[in-house]
């Protein structure tokens, strides 16, 4: 058996090497899973990881898929640093989409210059409202935010289904559970002609940079870091834990709401029950892969976006179920968490007992 020996100090090198090692191990494990499924592992890896990038629309699509992951991931990374476990980002994303979508459906002819900013604000408010519930329950009633935020995800999904099958259903939609398509004015502007790269991609990158500034240059960022690394020190210093809980959840919820807004105003174009392939949960992995650092989250978002694109090409080219994406993501997080032990510990081979018989 291997032994773990404390390093005594935090290894900066392994902080960055661990995600790389984890990704390498994930690729190897995926190859094994592919061959268990009876596919040629090398060809499968090519289809899953390389083919989506070399196709003509590959790179722009990667950014389109990464945008919601980065937006949500930046918010979550701030909270996770302070040990505030908002895992209901999926629900906050849904509420953001619902709030913004409601506005888009109510005022389809409003000028885009007013409508789009208003939708962004409402999307943000929607996500914040949904995140405020676990924040309130945690700070006032001590209820665990992990469970309450997750339960609210199910409620949000049911609310969305209710709206698109009931009051908001497109009367000309042949009974499909979906709203009318958003008007041109309510559609997120495309930034690069000939691609689907929309305003949300730019907003996501800006959120990453802004998050980095807040985390490293502001008092709030400092308080968040202290609360996560040394809760006792944070208490002695008089940082209000409740304020940081509210702040983490509202930031996470607001950004998730904006992500939901851009997804329905961009690639999806309407409200349907399938507005998210699990972005809110995948963003948790993005946050960890990005070392809970907003700039890292941008890279993490791009890598996890590849797993969605790869899942789609694998489905089309190899006839594999889409669930491969989930397995890849789960395995990646497993390896990442395991490799992170190297930041604080050294692996040592056991020493033979000296002397002995």
């Amino acid at each position: 058996m291997l032994r773990l020996e404390p390093r005594g100090a935090y290894s900066r090198w392994w902080t960055y090497a661990s995600p790389v090692l984890a990704m390498a191990l994930t690729v190897v494990t995926s190859a094994i899973i592919f061959s268990i499924l009876g596919k040629d592992p090398l060809e499968s890896l090519y289809v899953f990881l390389v083919a989506p990038l070399v196709s003509s629309s590959g790179l722009p699509e990667l950014f389109v898929k990464a945008a919601p992951l980065i937006l949500i991931g930046v918010g979550l990374s701030l909270g996770f640093r302070a040990n505030v476990w908002n895992i209901g980002a999926e629900g906050q994303y849904t509420l953001g989409a619902v709030f913004a979508g409601g506005l888009a459906l109510a005022y389809p002819d409003a000028p885009a210059l007013l409508l789009i900013p208003a939708m962004i604000v409402l999307g943000c408010v929607g996500g914040m409202v949904w995140a405020a519930i676990p924040a309130y329950l945690r700070t006032h009633w001590n209820a665990n935010e992990i469970l309450t935020s997750l339960m609210l995800t199910y409620v949000a999904q049911l609310l969305l289904i209710y709206l698109v099958t009931g009051p908001w259903r497109d009367p000309e939609g042949y009974g499909f559970p979906q709203t009318a398509l958003f008007s041109m004015n309510a559609t997120a502007p495309i930034l690069v002609d000939g691609t689907r790269v929309h305003l949300g991609v730019l907003v996501a990158l800006l959120a990453g940079i802004l998050g980095w500034v807040v985390l490293t240059r502001s008092v709030i960022g400092f308080q968040l870091r202290v609360l996560g690394q040394a809760p006792r020190a944070a208490r002695f210093a008089g940082f209000s834990q409740n304020r940081l809980i509210w702040l983490s959840l509202l930031t996470g919820g607001g950004l998730a709401g904006v992500a939901g807004m851009f997804e329905v105003a961009g690639p999806v174009g309407q409200l349907t029950p399938q507005i998210s392939p699990g972005y809110g949960f995948t963003a948790i992995i993005v946050a960890f892969l990005g070392r809970l650092h907003p700039i890292g989250v941008i890279f993490g978002g791009l890598i996890l976006a590849l797993s969605y694109l790869g899942g789609e090409t694998a489905q089309i080219d190899l006839g594999m179920p889409n669930a491969v994406t989930g397995i890849f993501q789960g395995v990646l997080l497993f390896f990442l968490l395991a490799c992170d032990v190297l930041i604080l510990y050294r692996l040592r081979l056991p020493r033979r007992a000296a002397g002995g018989a």
């Binding site: 209820a143 339960m151 209710y162 669930a323 993501q329 789960g330």
Partner: protein, 308 residues
């Protein structure tokens, strides 16, 4: 005249409560040893599909149930290796286990959608099962229903009255002290985690083999998370788990029942009831901070690394 209705109501509530009770009982033991495994939902889903597949291929319900338990344990083992050996963050690892389990079960299950299996056989004790009113309730369900209740009592006895149970609780409350006395902290945490996995796998098998007798993606629909909330609701006391699981089973059944009545309520509103109730119950219990602090294992979620 209403007796038939009452019996059928009680039977349905028992069926809806059993998976919650099984999963929550396992998680309670895991948490009592100081390990917070948030991957219950993932372990249940993998248990559900593996049990279902084993049943389809062998035709044996016993084998199906056993395979589901083994699958749940295999998932729990992954969790154990990461958190107990590699000292990974337990919250994050639990989430990873659920993400992985959801994907894995969907992948394995894609070939089984639309297949149906016969339900688990009902106990049929001649003379007893035919008794009016009590017969069908006490003797007429499948064995897992009674096993889930027996497991609660067994766990309650184990934790409160047995020496090993005392050691397990000691490790959950103060791993450093337990280690200093010489108890194998990591080993016992592994065993408690595996027990939690086996029970979650069993709960999953109950979903796919008894509750619905078919497989559907994400069929546990948050029950693993509700089971986690039930452990808090019960403030880590097995007896209250029974109360909580049956309360929630009742709510789940009611939400189905109300939809069947055709009342002019949106069905989604009624479906949201169990999730909203979970939040309410968590709030009611958690606001009493002292009670939580007195009953929660003091080392819950904290990694242990023996120095030297």
């Amino acid at each position: 005249m209403d007796q038939v209705l009452v019996v059928s109501f009680i039977l349905s509530v028992m069926t809806a409560s059993t998976p919650l009770l099984l999963a929550a009982t396992g998680e309670l033991v895991t948490e009592k040893a100081g390990v917070l495994n948030l991957g219950v939902e993932g372990m249940m889903l993998v248990g559900a599909i593996v049990g279902f597949a084993a049943m389809v291929h062998t035709g044996s319900a016993t084998l199906g149930v056993l395979c589901a338990m083994l699958a749940g344990m295999a998932m729990a083992l992954i969790f154990g290796i990461l958190t107990l050996t590699f000292l990974a963050n337990q919250v994050a690892t639990g989430l990873a286990l659920t993400i992985f389990g959801t994907g894995l079960s969907a992948l394995v299950g894609s070939g089984y959608v639309g297949t149906a299996v016969p339900p688990l056989p009902k106990l049929d004790i001649p003379g007893l099962s035919g008794l009016p009113f009590l017969g069908p309730i006490l003797f007429g369900q499948d064995a897992l229903v009674y096993l889930s209740i027996a497991a609660v009592f067994a766990v309650a006895w184990f934790l409160r009255r047995s020496h090993r149970g005392l050691i397990l609780r000691a490790i959950g409350d103060s791993h450093d002290a337990a280690h200093a006395i010489g108890y194998p902290v990591i080993l016992i945490r592994y065993l408690a985690t595996l027990f939690g996995g086996a029970m979650a796998g069993l709960a999953g098998a109950y979903m796919s083999l008894a509750y619905s007798t078919s497989w559907a993606e994400n069929m546990t629909a948050g029950r693993g998370w509700i089971a986690l909330a039930l452990v808090v609701f019960a403030t880590w006391r097995p007896g209250w788990l029974l109360v909580g699981a049956y309360l929630f089973g009742g709510i789940m059944y009611l939400s189905l029942y109300v939809q069947g009545l055709g009342i002019a309520l949106p069905s989604q509103l009624v479906s949201a009831l169990p999730y909203v109730a979970t939040i309410l119950v968590l709030v009611l219990i958690s606001r009493d901070r002292t009670k939580i602090r007195l009953n929660a294992p003091a080392c819950l979620g904290r990694p242990f690394h023996a120095a030297g």
